[in-house]
């Protein structure tokens, strides 16, 4: 199969959207939950504290959903640790077994790593859980070659 690298403008857009999501709505919702926790401190009625705990649970769900979207836009580990760790993080969330081999750590620039990582990460989201995916990285002439193989665990 042939995966197209994600173009630089799209990488940048996706990175920005993830950051906006994290710094904006996610932070606001987390702060709201703290606010509710604070409200709960002053209450003595267990029925009310129970309702507040329920609201906090609902906000946890909102944050989990935002996290899913954020992680799909731009895996957070890609920003901090690059290609290999980011793909492992995506695979682990999806329950996909992943082996990354070859020159994945060899000083590719940030844009190249992002273009390749997002293409493979998008693909990892499309395979069924428990697929075994192999990623082999080799250095081409001024490029990063990524070879992806996969094996379904069982059929039917």
């Amino acid at each position: 199969m042939r995966l197209r690298p994600v173009d630089p403008a799209t990488c940048e857009l996706r990175r920005g959207l993830e950051r906006d999501l994290n710094d904006g709505p996610a932070q606001r919702v987390a702060a709201l939950s703290v606010e509710l926790g604070l409200l709960s401190v002053d209450l003595t009625d267990p029925a009310l504290t129970g309702r507040i705990a329920g609201l906090q649970c609902a906000l946890d769900t909102v944050l989990a959903e935002l996290r899913e979207i954020g992680g799909a836009l731009y895996p957070p580990v890609l920003t901090s640790d690059g290609f290999g760790p980011a793909l492992h993080a995506v695979a682990e969330r999806r329950g996909v077994a992943l082996a990354v081999r070859g020159e994945a750590r060899e000083g590719y620039d940030v844009d190249t790593q992002a273009a390749a990582c997002l293409a493979v990460a998008d693909h990892l989201r499309s395979v069924p859980p428990e697929t075994r995916v192999g990623v082999r990285v080799s250095r081409g002439l001024g490029s990063m070659r990524v070879h992806v193989t996969e094996e379904r665990a069982t059929c039917g």
């Binding site: 939950s33 703290v34 604070l38 709960s40 401190v41 954020g70 682990e92 969330r93 329950g95 077994a97």
Partner: protein, 220 residues
């Protein structure tokens, strides 16, 4: 408890400061980046420092700052907060230290009880691991194969609580069983999974369990 916080998100940080004060803790410093936190804890030591993983210095200033704080003041407990529960970050947190350290989702410390419990455990030298991450790590494979699938329901609960960094007493309390029963389950888990090491040394046990679970999940 004396606490210092560093997070570049003012809204969340200020809320947490109020929550900590409401819980009876003394907030010694509330700052927006790692450098300010290091300056603060070196001048005025705290019991626990709370750090957002994603803050300046970018991209993961919380982790690099936690390393500096640990080197400067090894006795200071460290609580790393994140919007994401990533095994990769957990492993980086445990490279900084395996005692008096924790990794939790931001929204999960939004209640006084959980916040108190987390800080108390860290100050007591324990490892505190985000329960939703521990739960994901111990999930049984859908195919039903492998040693984790061979654990009994009870052993599986014990494994999850070990992966949260819980002590035997805490596991016993959570599952309403005796500490002796917990020991028996843990010995059975170590045998079934073929884990190395002494299950009675808490932080080594957490590391052995996590290394096993992580390898099982991600190595193809």
């Amino acid at each position: 408890m004396r606490v210092a916080i560093a997070d570049d998100g003012a809204l969340f940080r200020e809320g947490l400061v109020m929550l900590l004060r409401a819980a009876g803790h003394e907030v010694v410093a509330s700052v927006s980046d790692g450098d300010q936190l290091v300056a603060s804890v070196s001048a005025d030591p705290v019991d626990v420092a709370i750090l957002d993983i994603r803050m300046p210095p970018e991209p993961d200033g919380g982790l690099t700052t936690a390393e500096r704080v640990r080197a400067l003041r090894p006795e200071t407990g460290l609580l790393l907060l994140s919007h994401y529960a990533e095994t990769h970050y957990l492993m980086r947190v445990l490279e900084i230290g395996t005692e008096g350290i924790g990794y939790r989702l931001k929204e999960r410390v939004a209640g006084v009880q959980v916040l108190d419990d987390t800080l108390t455990r860290i100050a007591a030298g324990e490892i505190v691991i985000e329960p939703s991450l521990a739960k994901r790590l111990v999930e049984r494979p859908a195919s039903g194969d492998g040693p984790v699938a061979a654990l009994t329901e009870r052993e599986h609960d014990v494994l999850r609580l070990m992966a949260e960094g819980r002590t035997n007493n805490a596991i016993a309390k959570e599952l309403f069983i005796s500490a002796k029963a917990v020991e028996k389950h843990i010995a059975a888990i170590f045998t079934k999974l073929g884990l190395p090491g002494d299950p009675t040394v808490n932080h080594r046990r957490v590391l052995a369990v996590l290394a096993y679970l992580r390898a099982r999940r991600i190595d193809g």
